[in-house]
Amino acid sequence: MSWSWLSISSLVTRSALSRPATRLYPVERREPFRKTRGHVKFVVDDCNFCTICAHKCPTRAIVANKKEKTWAIDHSLCILCGNCVEDCREGCITLSNDPWPPMEAKEVLSFRKDFELPPA
């Protein structure tokens, strides 16, 4: 006769005596990996508003305006594909490895470049 609890008993006993495999998430967080696609970061001062990022965005999460010198990203639309990062010639868009916190409402981050230094 076979005993159903025998084959899993060692596994279950060890699990019961060891630390939990899960984390108490909001309190205890794991350090994100170096390559983790967390969120898109934008530095408005370096941008020349070429709008390539907006054209390359597959979900149209980025809206950029050359005339108004504005740039906006909708984090609820962004799929973190990294196309904008790869195509940005000025290096003003980067992927941070820190995951964007859960959103309660639609969050659109807008940037406007107010003034520009005259060319030296």
Binding site: L11, K35, R37, N83
Partner: protein
């Protein structure tokens, strides 16, 4: 004349992660026939390919399925590369193979957990998923995503993995394999697993072949057919044999998946050992796909076929995907004939139904 009862099963059912509906015609507790109906999660991704840029479409193709996401992206990229006549560098090919095998292991572990849940073995379900979590961490470390890898692109891959990380992954894979063997032993030896799955939902080899079953369902019935034998990606250069079981019941299909996980661990180790140096992508600048092609790949659930047609424009003319779940629905209906009502959830789960995948 004996009267029969029709019991609806799904689309919302505790055992089903995704919506599929079955009308079960019952004579007392025995299933006389089952009529499936699908179409609850259709998203129209194939039409999207006709409107999106072919380079952007690789990201959409990856989102056909959440569990076998990488292999969908790989299939699409291989198809477009074939149309454009691109030669992908060997390092990219090997890294693609590693990721495909990792996604196969995590998909099978997910399935083992779900099936343990379906026959009421909660702790085994949790332990399967605990091991899967370690693999998902490897995916995140090497690609940056946990579910959607986002590393496959037309012409190669987006991100290289340095040798140090690869060696670390190789060591971790060995540790995970040891942890997995403990869980696999429970699946193989525990009498409750045997009682719920052995001799249930038997599908003979001839039926499986005639009804067009694919993947573990076909191999569980004793037919030696694995699309990886075609030698796409790096499979032609690796040492492996398709996993085959002959019983054709739910237990045989479970055993095929258990053995395939061990095989995938071995394939990953082989790929890491033989990893070539060099570039990871080739430029596609100024090129456009032209012509038509058919690509077949082995997904965790079975063979997937892609048909691509392009006329030299920036978007494809036609994109068609035949997913393994679609091929396995006809064998499922055959398996359900004559089974007990209580066994229906277990049998439905053994084809590993991925309905979102199926309906694109």
């Amino acid at each position: 004349m004996a009267s029969t009862t029709i019991v609806p099963f799904g689309p919302q059912h505790p055992v089903l992660p995704e919506p599929i509906h079955l009308d079960l015609e019952l004579d007392d507790e025995r299933v006389v026939q089952a009529l499936p109906s699908i179409g609850y999660v259709h998203r129209g991704l194939e039409l999207l390919a006709e409107r999106h840029d072919y380079l952007e479409m690789s990201q959409v193709a990856e989102r056909i399925c959440g569990i076998c996401s990488f292999i969908h992206g790989q299939g699409y990229c291989q198809g477009v590369e074939h149309l454009m006549g691109l030669e992908v560098p060997p390092r990219a090919v090997y890294l693609r193979t590693i990721w495909a095998e990792i996604s196969r292991i995590q998909s099978h572990l997910l399935w083992l957990g779900l099936s343990a849940d379906a026959f009421g073995f909660e702790s085994l379900f949790q332990h399967s998923w605990r091991i899967r979590e370690m693999l998902v961490d490897i995916i995140e470390e090497t690609t940056g995503g946990r579910v959607i890898f986002g590393v496959c692109k037309v012409g190669g891959i987006r991100k290289d993995v340095d040798d140090e990380t690869l060696q670390r992954v190789g060591r971790r894979i060995r540790e995970i394999e040891a942890a997995y063997e403990e869980v696999a032993r429970v699946f193989r030896e525990d009498p409750t697993v045997q009682k719920r799955t052995a001799g249930v939902g038997v599908l003979g080899a001839e039926d499986a072949y005639a009804l067009g079953a694919v993947g573990p369902v076909l191999r569980g019935s004793g037919v030696v057919r694995d699309t990886r034998q075609l030698g796409y990606a790096a499979y032609g250069e690796l040492d492996w044999e398709p996993v085959v079981e002959t019983a054709g019941d739910c237990y045989a299909r479970c055993e095929v998946r258990l053995r395939e996980i061990s095989q995938s661990f071995d394939l990953i180790a082989q790929c890491i050992d033989r990893m070539p140096e060099g570039k990871i992508d080739v430029s596609v600048k100024g090129k456009r796909p032209q012509g038509e092609t058919m690509i077949r790949l082995e997904q965790p659930r079975g063979e997937v076929c892609y048909y691509l047609m392009a006329k030299g424009r920036k978007n494809l003319e036609r994109f068609r995907v035949r997913t393994p779940t679609f091929a396995n629905i006809a064998p499922l209906v055959q398996m359900l004939k004559g089974c007990e009502l209580a066994d229906v959830p277990v049998i439905v789960l053994t084809i590993d139904p991925c309905v979102s995948c199926n309906e694109r």
